[in-house]
């Protein structure tokens, strides 16, 4: 560190971040010389809690991993469980799931536009996009019964049907939103101050994107042509025609263009889905005890590729559930993108990967500074370290241990 270097703590609490995460920046004037990322502030122990609940309860628990991509997580989990149980989900249910998925993608991208506008100081864009987002949320409330955390999925299908009166309302909302999105595309490509703030910021070349494992619009803006909806079709995507939007700009401006393009593609997909909605039941009876097996399910959430792994052992509770959210793959590129950047670019670069830290914090590994010679603390070592720490300060838990009949070690 030179004489004029100082550290700026961005987070855990900072107006630029919507959720707590710690980015410790080493500054040299206005330029960023280095960055340390610490995750784990949003860890809630969801994966462990899933093992103690039945499958039908787990659907709701997994849905609440994140508020904006809740349907993504629920669908991914339910797809994995249905694969283990070898259930044949009816076609109408698959189409309804895809419809809600695309509506959620619209909702998420409009939210992102507003947040990006706020991070660069353009509050008008925030107000306008969030006003238009209300249209989508009203449609979702009408279809599913709630504005976020839709609760549409159940093991074996969906819980509600779409009536014929609701379809014209959905189409009208999609028409309104398409007109507004065309206006936002014009604003994003023609407004001077936006282009100045977003261009040349957060550069990520094609090779770096592939090497560091970026997913979603972050990677597609660097020309990486990967989209789980096309490469590994799940739900109804195998029967829809759509384009995968990529861009060559490799910076935050490219990511904006990719997300706006994806919005336009979502409108087309919703029209195709509603025109070809098949008839039939919406759910199939699922057993309470899922037979032993394991499954791996992938889903293209609005932020990138979401991966769930479920292992069942024949009882009505899963043995292991693992969630890998797309933001975990993207957060490793942030340090790379901010090298030699300005402090003023930090909020927009972090916002450009569309961070959802609630999704990300699934596992915390604790380094063992207490007993030397080991790297990761084991569970008994952590417990004994805690007991020793309190004993040094005069608090003894041995009475409690005796009452609970816990072995002393």
């Amino acid at each position: 560190m030179g004489r004029y270097d100082f550290k700026v703590p961005v987070g855990p609490q900072h107006p630029a971040l919507k959720e707590p995460e710690s980015f410790l920046l080493t500054m040299h004037g206005e330029k960023i010389a280095g960055m340390t990322v610490r995750l784990g502030y949003n860890h809630r122990g969801i994966e462990k809690a899933c093992e103690a609940q039945t499958y039908i309860r787990d659907v709701y628990l997994i849905e609440r991993v994140c508020g904006i991509c809740s349907h993504s997580h629920a669908t991914c989990f339910v797809q994995a469980v249905e694969e283990i149980a070898a259930l044949e989900v009816p076609k109408r249910a698959i189409y309804i799931r895809t419809l809600i998925a695309e509506l959620e993608r619209i909702h998420s991208h409009l939210l992102w536009l507003g947040v990006a506008g706020h991070e660069i100081g353009f509050d008008t864009l925030l107000m306008y996009t969030w006003r238009d987002r209300e249209v989508v949320m009203d449609v979702l409330a009408m279809l599913t019964g709630n504005r976020v955390n839709y609760g549409m999925n159940t093991i074996g299908g969906v819980r509600r049907d779409i009536t014929a009166e609701q379809i014209p309302q959905v189409l009208k909302a999609v028409d309104t939103l398409e007109e507004r999105t065309k206006y936002y595309i014009q604003v994003a490509t023609e407004e001077t101050t936006i282009i100045k703030r977003l261009s040349g910021v957060g550069m990520l070349s094609y090779d770096d994107a592939v090497k560091l494992g970026a997913v979603g619009p972050t990677a597609r803006a660097s020309g990486v042509d990967r989209d789980t909806r096309r490469d590994d079709p799940y739900a109804a995507y195998g029967e829809l025609t759509f384009k995968v939007i990529t861009d060559k700009h490799c910076d935050v401006y490219g990511r904006t263009v990719v997300r706006l393009g994806e919005l336009m593609e979502s409108y087309k997909m919703i029209r195709q889905l509603l025109a070809n909605l098949p008839d039939g039941p919406v759910t199939v009876k699922a057993p309470r005890k899922i037979p032993a097996g394991e499954a791996f399910s992938r889903y293209e959430a609005p932020r990138g590729e979401d991966v769930h792994y479920v292992k069942a052992n024949g009882t009505d509770k899963p043995e292991r559930v693992k969630v890998r959210a797309p933001t975990l793959a993207n957060v490793q590129v942030v340090a790379h993108m901010l090298k030699d950047g300005y402090l003023a670019d930090m909020p927009i670069v972090v916002a450009a990967i569309d961070p959802c830290f609630s999704c990300t914090d699934r596992m915390v590994s604790v380094e063992d500074d207490y007993h030397s010679g080991k790297n990761i603390m084991t569970w008994p070592a952590l417990r004994s370290a805690g007991i020793d720490w309190y004993r040094k300060r005069g608090i003894d838990f041995s009475d409690l241990n005796r009452r609970l009949r816990v072995p002393e070690n």
Partner: protein
């Protein structure tokens, strides 16, 4: 004697300028809200904000220099109110005027920026220091265009006193149309001085929390907020006096109303500019100011010098 005290403290002195500052802040926020298709705050919101801040506790960080920390808001408020007395409002003569008061007004307008810088620097927190350095860097970018755009009409009117400038332009109203480029430049530079988007870089909320005001709270922050409101009023009045010098010889009531309309019109223009732009980075702002804004200001100065030469003949 009592008349002078009345003028200084009540009207158009301290009390009047504080109330006008709050009214200007209300117009700014309400107009901005209407442009963004939302409702906006009620009319008593700036007053309620100030009352709330005054009722809260002053927290002074341990590492900060307590003397300068407490002194800077007071200096900001007093200097900006003093500048108000030298600007002609609704008559051709200001409350106090003397030859050279144009320079005094411009210098008094720079003191709040200096107070913000020193207050932020002596707060000794990382965010305040970054905000303070940005405030000073931005100062070097907009001060020259602002000064030149006020100087050009002064050169044409051949005087250094604001009151005499307004007398001159009231007589030759068509000459003030030549200063339109200067008006536009002064508006842009005023955006920089008042730290509004696209130039609100020292107080960028999403980057450095609150910039120079991060450690301030309670009464001291209330004083800074009052200083910013009054700066808005003083800047608008200065622009109205130099670039919109019409209707200054009416009687008191219509003249007063016309003055309020002029000031609130300039405040509304600043609001409009605030809603349609994003925030610039500090290096982009300095680039922009020196590449585009300063040349136009120089051009305006040359135009006025040429016209003055033609008139003299």
């Amino acid at each position: 004697m009592a008349n002078v005290f009345f003028n200084l403290l009540i009207f158009p002195g301290f009390l009047f300028v504080v109330v006008l500052g709050m009214a200007a802040e209300y117009v700014d926020r309400k107009f901005c809200a209407k442009l963004q298709n939302r409702v906006g705050p009620p009319w008593y919101q700036p007053f309620a904000d100030l009352v709330k801040l005054v009722a809260k506790e002053n927290i002074i960080p341990e590492e900060a220099d307590a003397g300068i920390f407490k002194l800077m808001p007071i200096i900001a408020v007093t200097s900006i109110i003093t500048a108000f007395f030298y600007i002609p409002l609704w008559q051709m003569k200001a409350l106090f005027s003397f030859y050279g008061d144009l320079i005094v007004v411009i210098y008094l307008l720079t003191i709040p920026t200096l107070a913000i810088f020193l207050g932020g620097w002596y707060s000794r927190s990382v965010f305040s220091r970054i905000g303070a350095t940005r405030a000073m860097t931005q100062f070097f970018a907009y001060e020259i265009p602002l000064f030149l755009s006020i100087l050009a009409p002064a050169m044409l009117a051949d005087s250094w006193s604001l009151s005499e400038i307004t007398v001159f332009y009231s007589k030759h109203l068509w000459l003030s149309l030549l200063n339109s480029a200067g008006f536009a430049i002064a508006l842009v530079a005023l955006l920089g001085k008042l730290e509004k988007v696209p130039f609100d870089i020292p107080e960028a909320e999403t980057e450095i929390v609150a910039g120079t005001f991060t450690e301030y709270s309670g009464r001291l922050l209330a004083f800074f907020r009052i200083a910013i409101d009054i700066e808005l009023v003083v800047g608008s009045s200065l622009l109205a006096a130099v670039f919109l010098p019409f209707g200054l010889n009416l009687s008191f009531m219509p003249g007063f109303v016309l003055y309020l309309v002029k000031v609130l019109f300039i405040v509304a223009l600043l609001s409009l500019l605030r809603t349609i732009f994003a925030r610039l980075r500090i290096d982009q702002m300095i680039n922009f100011c020196w590449k585009y804004v300063a040349p136009v200001a120089f051009f305006q100065l040359i135009v006025d010098l040429v016209v003055k030469g033609i008139i003299k003949q």
